[in-house]
Subunit: 319 residues, 2 copies
């Protein structure tokens, strides 16, 4: 399987992803063995996170951006993180429909969000799918998030560069975006800058430039930039790609980007440790028997949360 | 010790808090035994969270609010959550100085943030100190947070009502507050509404009312309210206390508040389980030997984060 993935066989890649996303123990073991084998082939892509609230034209943007990249000879994988998604036939179809051209492009690979589970679980599988895509030769990975709650932070923690897509609107709308998300952005893109909206987009861009200039930059070598694009008219995409190039060059100083990836990998290991430990605890036979009663007693104030935790831990670590 | 705490002996309370905050194993055991004993005496207070950025006059506000409450016959405990604080003689003195009158009030008890440690650790100790204060008869607990990062969420997760203190300023300043924090607030208080600032405070109040009306309320029975106070002139405090009463009454419908406390207790148990498990893992002898090497290999891309986590877990759960 390893060789076929590396040679770029799409069916082998799809099968590997199925393994990674499976909850069956034997599948997980195979998946982990495969990932270990493929590890030397990973890491050679530009990892780009894209966030934006519904209505900013994210799908059209990703389609235009993706087509631009494949036309330049890149291989592009589009992954989505949406912990709320219940993947069904319909939603896979949905992803293909909303990026119709790109989904037919032989140099593009579109994969919807793994279904269900906690954000931690969804994130882990997405990270692993990203590694598989890299091993399969995709050199630009776009990780899209739907912009609910914590998922932006999660995406920012697995990419090299985080882009925030905004609608051309200023003033009051500025309040609509969570400030924390603005602070994650390395590049802010005002999309839909076309036709009548061009003046509004310009005004918005200048407002966001003002807002961004007040924030402390994440990097010593990069100040967040605000750009305008029209996915509809395919305008501004080339400048955006150039800016991503400048970003990568700027942040190669002091090996900032390399260190960011190292820290991300370590954080991933810790998250994995935490999640797996808690899952083991919950599925431990005696613990899972004691848990419902214990939780009820805690809620009823019959036992303190700390004491309950200590008792459960004692059961778990006994043997 | 139990009886002396219940009878309201301040020295016994202080000694119990020292036990709770100690990192010594034997102290922790004594603390947990004591808390279990006292559990039936806890839960009878109004738990109020207060957040606000520096400069809004939080100390003056808490002093005025606290004095108002003790004058009405209440016993008030003021606790602080600040994970960045390194408690020293100076900072205790600091807390007493900044609330000079209240700290001399026999019906008030002021306790600065436990020193150092993770936010999780600081939060646990603060929760336990809150229970001790309740057992000692304090019927209003004010938990103040300094407004950095995650500490607001942490405080909101341990109180009945969360108040956000704001300076009288509108327009641009609206952007300065993290939207996530605004969304936590059950009551927004525009402080310093005195003298020349009254018109500004009025305008700010009306702007925040507009902002708040756009947010989805946390409760079915309560929409966040915006009030004005002047801690300096002790104005608006009575209305605030009345509003807190209305809040409690409104949220008694469907036993919302009771259920909130139940969920908070359960979440505390889970947080405790997670923290303690990870601490056990890190301090496990063979794990702590393997960890630095493993983390370095993960960063260097020699082993996948998941594989590393699995190996460390295998070591930890072996025996």
């Amino acid at each position: 399987m390893k060789e076929r993935i590396i040679s770029g066989n799409r069916r082998a890649l799809a099968r590997a992803i199925t393994l990674v996303e499976s909850v069956r123990d034997d599948h997980q073991q195979q998946a982990q063995a495969l990932l270990s084998d493929l590890l030397p082939e990973t890491g050679k892509s530009v990892r780009i996170g894209i966030s934006g609230t519904p209505g900013v034209g994210k799908s059209t943007f990703i389609e235009a951006f993706g087509k631009f990249l494949t036309a330049q000879g890149h291989k592009v994988a589009v992954l989505t993180i949406d912990p709320s998604s219940k993947r069904t036939g319909g939603s896979i179809l949905g992803d293909k429909t909303r990026m119709e051209e790109l989904s037919r492009d032989p140099n593009a690979f579109i994969r919807p969000s793994p279904s269900g589970g906690s954000l931690g679980g969804v994130a882990r599988r997405t990270r692993e799918v990203m590694l598989l895509c890299e091993a399969a030769g995709y050199d630009v990975i776009l990780i899209e998030t739907v912009g609910v709650g914590q998922s932006e932070t999660t995406v920012a923690d697995m990419v090299d560069i985080f882009m925030l897509l905004l609608a051309p609107a200023g003033g009051d709308e500025l309040q609509g975006i969570k400030r924390g998300v603005m602070e994650l952005a390395d590049i802010i893109v005002i999309n839909k800058a076309d036709g009548d909206l061009i003046p509004v987009a310009r005004r918005a861009a200048s407002e966001y430039r003002g807002a961004v200039s007040l924030m402390r930059p994440k990097s010593k070598h990069w100040k967040p930039k605000v750009l305008m694009t029209s996915a509809l008219e395919k305008a501004g995409i080339d400048t955006l790609w150039e800016t991503i190039g400048e970003y990568r060059e700027a942040r190669s100083a002091d090996e900032e980007l390399t260190r960011q990836r190292e820290e991300q990998a370590a954080a991933w290991m810790w998250a994995e440790l935490g999640d797996t430990l808690m899952n083991r605890l919950k599925s431990h036979e005696q613990v899972s028997v004691a848990l419902p009663r214990m939780e009820a007693d805690v809620k009823a104030g019959l036992i303190s949360p700390t004491a309950a935790a200590q008792q459960l831990l004692a059961i778990f670590l006994e043997k």
